[in-house]
Symmetry: C2
Subunit: 222 residues, 2 copies
């Protein structure tokens, strides 16, 4: 009998990739556009989800998976809007993984869903390493965090499809150079789409909604 050697990191990541593909296939079968939302704690993931639900719910069937280390505060906010939602508590884990998302999918009405938001755990590092089965990776950066974050967390900015730059309403009170930020992010990730928005005032959200509606149409026509 030979001793099997397991390199933990690769094994876990490889198994996660496989499970993410299974999730993706399942979601594709129902034509569900799936967006994995990542950010620092408090950058505005839930605010973006709530604003988007309010805008799109008349024409789009939305569901949400909420990921948090603890609590169900965010899921309760989504539930209050009458949207199907499941809360995943990671019990100390600093990111969602594809297995957790699979459990979430088992509790959602996939046949009645066009758009699925997966709100990841608030963390700018590890969520980026775990595919969940999403179509789109979206990260939120927020002005109070400072315009140097792309230098410090380059992998997250380099890999994402969309950057929502939130809390632009605070610009007058902060030293945040939006043009410099965009330049650095585009340098790391030439194909990225950047939306400066304020989930609080609604500024800039129309552009995000339009883009999302196009993406929904693109998914349905596949």
């Amino acid at each position: 009998m030979t001793v099997k050697v397991i390199t933990v990191g690769e094994k876990i990541l490889g198994a996660n990739e496989e499970k993410a593909k299974v999730n993706k296939k399942r979601l594709d079968k129902f034509g569900i556009l799936t967006i994995n939302i990542m950010s620092s704690p408090g950058a505005g993931k839930t605010s973006l989800i709530l604003s988007t639900i309010k805008h799109l719910r008349e024409k789009t069937r939305i569901a949400v998976i909420e990921g948090d280390v603890a609590s169900s505060i965010d899921a309760e906010k989504v539930n209050a809007l009458g949207i199907p939602v499941v809360q995943i508590n990671t019990a100390g884990g600093c990111h969602l993984d594809a297995n957790m998302v699979e459990s979430g999918l088992n509790s959602l009405p996939l046949e009645d869903t066009d758009l699925l938001f997966i709100e990841n755990v608030g963390n700018l590092i590890c969520p980026n390493n775990y595919a969940l089965g999403e179509d789109i990776k979206l990260m939120i950066a927020s002005l109070p965090e400072g315009d140097d974050k792309p230098y410090k967390y380059p992998a997250m900015f380099a890999d994402t499809d969309v950057v929502l730059l939130n809390k632009t309403d605070l610009e007058p009170y902060l030293d945040f150079n939006i043009d410099a930020f965009k330049k650095v992010v585009t340098g790391l990730n030439p194909d990225v789409i950047i939306f400066p928005v304020s989930c609080k005032t609604g500024a800039g959200l129309e552009v995000w909604f339009s883009w999302l509606e196009s993406a929904l149409k693109g998914k349905k026509s596949k």
Copy 2:
């Protein structure tokens, strides 16, 4: 030959605890007060360190270990003030550990240091699980992150010695209830000390400086 079973999590954490004790003993030998600073990305760890250096440098010999996933932006800011500093890049790792700090200590003039700041990687989850050899765990929360963070990241708030609540200058523009925040944090952690401050305007920092000077005296008298 029997196959050795290694439970990775426990093994790593156990080994880390041992190394942290070695670091602590080494730092105690020189009478160095060591503070492990943790927070979300962009909450103000470096700003607090820079403000404190400017205030205390005439009477206190300070050194800094900067932890980041990538870049040396923060270390350069400290270096510009002429303070001994070493940058640790974790290459994707989401927290510092005691081994990394040991490497940092090897590059610092410990015999000429009274106060050591260790700036952890920006993350509200994993840094809390890794002792580094510090005397004091300090976490920074900031108003733009929202007053619900203690519910979502309870372990970090429950285990820290000090919470610095930064960016109070933005209070007029945010829906952050400072009293409610204090109540929740104290519920999780009855012995915690909370300092509301603005590293930008300097508001509240005098109280932090006084507390820190007392802690420095306490360490020297041991």
